[in-house]
Amino acid sequence: MTAQPIQSRADSHLLDRQAESAVGSGGSASCSALAARVQGATRTYGVGAATVVALDDVTVGFVSGEFTAIMGPSGSGKSTLMHCMTGLDTLTSGQAFIGETDLASLSDRELTVLRRDRLGFVFQAFNLLPTLTAEENITLPADLAGRTVHRGWFHTIVSTLGLQERLTHRPAQLSGGQQQRTAVARALVSRPEVVFADEPTGALDSKASAELLRFLRSVVDDLGQTVVVVTHDPAAAAYADRVVFLVDGAVVEELADPTRDSVLETMKRLGS
């Protein structure tokens, strides 16, 4: 699937919020504004001798309009990092920002609204409510906010993801790849500042994985969408502009313009 030209940003009236993040059109990665960042992020679980340090003084930023992959072995803290950055989990110490908003300063309700209006999510599995159709799942965040989605934008995303024929189906009637593409459509339809994806291809075969990643790549290139993907798959990481490697809760390496081989090599080095 090739990246089709997606509706120009200027057409959309849903963009007011994103204007702040100052991303140029045309998918340039050169802009240095940070869409999300953490400073001195530490997260520990348990108390006393049973304390587990999941994140150990991590400072990292995600550039607007860039496709970043977070990699690391199991238990390296990559998922915890993502949870803390999105307000799903809270840091033990340190700060997390979305744009210039300090997550620690928000109430549960404000965090919820932030997730709804400014972030998009794709999980590894169980992304969709089983009782709603694909279309209803896609518009769910907008429905929750009491807004209507921009129909033109909705149709662009749906046709790009090849979901037109599937809109009235329930998740149980969709293939794994279709379910994940529906989740991606949901994450994109409200044009969030950042899309976070946690192992989005973890349950997919290689063909469906490639399709999904090419699509994520294209929204970054064509729209300047900021995308952060947590993965352990080097092939997936190769689609990113930059790869951040985590080991034992700390950032140990960064790799710009990665390829599958350079990622593999880095992993091998870090693992030994």
Binding site: L88, D108, R109, F123, L129, T131, L140, P141
Partner: protein, 843 residues
Amino acid sequence: MLRVSLRNVLANKLRLVLTIAAVTVGVAFVSGTFVLSDTMTRAFDQLYSGLTAGTDVVVRGQSAYSTDVTTQEQPPPLDEDLVEVVAQVPGVAAAQGGVTGFALILDKDGVPIQPGGAPTLGASVGGDDQLAGGFTFREGQAPAGLGEIAIDAGSAAEAGYQVGDTVDVVLQDSRSSFTLVGIVGFGDTDSLAGATLAGFDLPTAQQLLGKVGLVDEIEVRADDGVTAQALRADVGAVLPTGAEALTGQQVADEGSAAVRDAMSVFSQVLLVFAGVSVLVGSFVIWNTFSVLVAQRRREVALLRAVGATRRQVLTGIMVEAGVIGLVSAGVGLGTGVGLAVGIRSLLKLIGIEVPATSTTIEPRTIVAALLVGVVITMAAALVPAWAASRVAPMEALRDVVPTAGDIRPARQIAGWVLLAAGLAGLVGCALAGGQLAWTGVATLTAFAGLVTAGPSLARGTARLADHGRRGNGWRMAARNIARSSRRSAATALALTIGLAVVCAVAVTASSMKASVADSVTGGNRSDFALRPAGAGSGVSPAAADLVRGLDEVDTVVELRYTGAQVGGQNATVVGVDPSGLDDVVDLGPMDGSLAAFTPGTMMLRAETAEALGARVGNPVQITFPETGVQTVTLAGTFANDTLLESNYLITLADFQDNVTSRLDGAVLLTVRDGVAPAVAERSLSQALAEYPNVTISDPAELTADAQASVDQMLGLVTALLLLAVVVAVLGIVNTLVLSVVERTRALGLMRAVGATRRQVRTLVRRESVLMSLLGAVTGIGLGTVSGIALSRALVDEGVTRLAVPSGTLAAYLAVAALVGVLAAIGPARRASRVDVLRAVTTE
């Protein structure tokens, strides 16, 4: 969010149906009760306003105090000369006197036409056409003279009488034959609220009803242009003391109000049963929503992750509950209207006849149905919904479905303390006796304890069942119960409520039966009792005179009853001839003596005398409706509960001075020494052949009759309560279905590693049986203990004995186990058909 809620409602049809059914029963009960009582009230309203339609003013004797319709006491009759006096008042177009009394119509085979509950009236009919109101001659004409009679269309239809036939009627003093000359109707209805009517012309009626020279009321029609109010004032001015004038409207309103009062008591009783069903239903709803929320934790977490606020989650589940409540309310309302028709037939079965009219659905009924359906459902769903709103969005990302948290020890301890306090209270009430209010408080406390300590009770049950061979279904079932102890407890508790009430009623009823047997056989010395058949209002004194003349019969004692007030309290006073009283009953004299019981004195039951503060020799005031306050001296007190069925005894002579009616409520008699009972009974029935409304019973038959009527009530009450038990069973099915759906993966895994379908079915069935038994044991236990306390609390109401129907209770336990097996059939089948492959691969 609304869409999510609606989709969730429709997601599982079976669950939806079961949940709705649980609420529907309660709603149907409530709305059915209202529809029934509204319909009946309206029917009576129509009847009363129809009857007084042409009458502007009614003159009648003044009662000493306002009697209520249920006692059927009549005001004192007036002198018939007053009719002429009233007729002379300016503005009176017509005035006519009327009398009412006892007359029992016999059908062609000589069998009495005896309505259950409603009176058998004899009355004067005919005269002024316009004064007749809704009362019309459908066929024939008004009776004239001694040999002619008119009867109501209802009785005519029942017996197949036509104008020209000969009709036999049992009257207060005789049995006579008449020629039927007219058939009367009351507007559209065939009878006066189920009562039978034998109509005669006024002089004949006065003679036959024992009111020569007297009238019970005078109906007055005003001249054109004279208002009823004005005429009432004018007529009132000429009346002697002891008579009063009312407008026709007032009389109609009085009748309606009396019916309304009676109906409200009746609907309150039904609403209590409805309340039990609603309570059980709310437990089922609570439980269903708790399980739903537990199952949907991941969905809720996902919703939260993509931006649903806590309030939206809470609102979403409440909307879901509201929709279920609304649908249940609608279905329940419809069912309730049907139920009202059913209850009407049921009432007819136990002998309460209800006039027919179109079904009345007041706005109040619809509001009540909606309130019960929606509010109960939403209230029961509130706690689970709140729990759902606390689900952290993080849970969407975890793979494991978290199980419900541990029970806090504080809660367990509080539960056990409450339960112990409640049970101790019940034991205390049982020992003390007479503590009705405290019995209620203790029962509720014990129940609250059961609710609170429920999960640990479920674990206890599981521990008991967790024995035997490994791989044995009981063990696995016990583990599952222990793991979901809260849910199991809530499911079982629905059954607990239903069975507790059923058992408490069963224990109380069996105690009543034992007490009834005591009172009949205990103080009895008579050999036979003559009583009115069915719900008849009395036996002609002529019957007593007939048997008094028999050679086989020794002593004959007539008992007459009237409502009166003693010490300001309504009481049933019995008039009895002191001579021979000691031959037929053993009063168990305490203070004073039976010899001192002469006209001008009375006897009281010892407890009653104590309550009134009266001692032997003291004056006691009795207020009779007809004659007002009379003072008598207390001759003595007695202890035994006897066939007299009254705590207040006066002499027959005093009774006749104060009460016009001369009907005997019952007649007790002894046979001469040496006469075989069978011989005596044969000669009694021969002598009473003319009085088919009199039944002859020996003490054993009296006991059996009394017990049969307790049984009939018990059967009715149990049937009403079983509806609540049915709701509880629906709850068990619902919980099982939900838990099977929830455990699809676990069950599939079991099948994958080698469990047979039969083993899976057995597992589900045993879980069901364990829950049923938990509910049954707690319910029957609590019900029995509070039933014992309740029986002891009613000791002053004549429940002197305590009897626990252990056979019945054991049967309930067995039925509960069976119910467990039956409830599991559907869910177990579903569990055994789980697709193994999909179960282990499904997300």
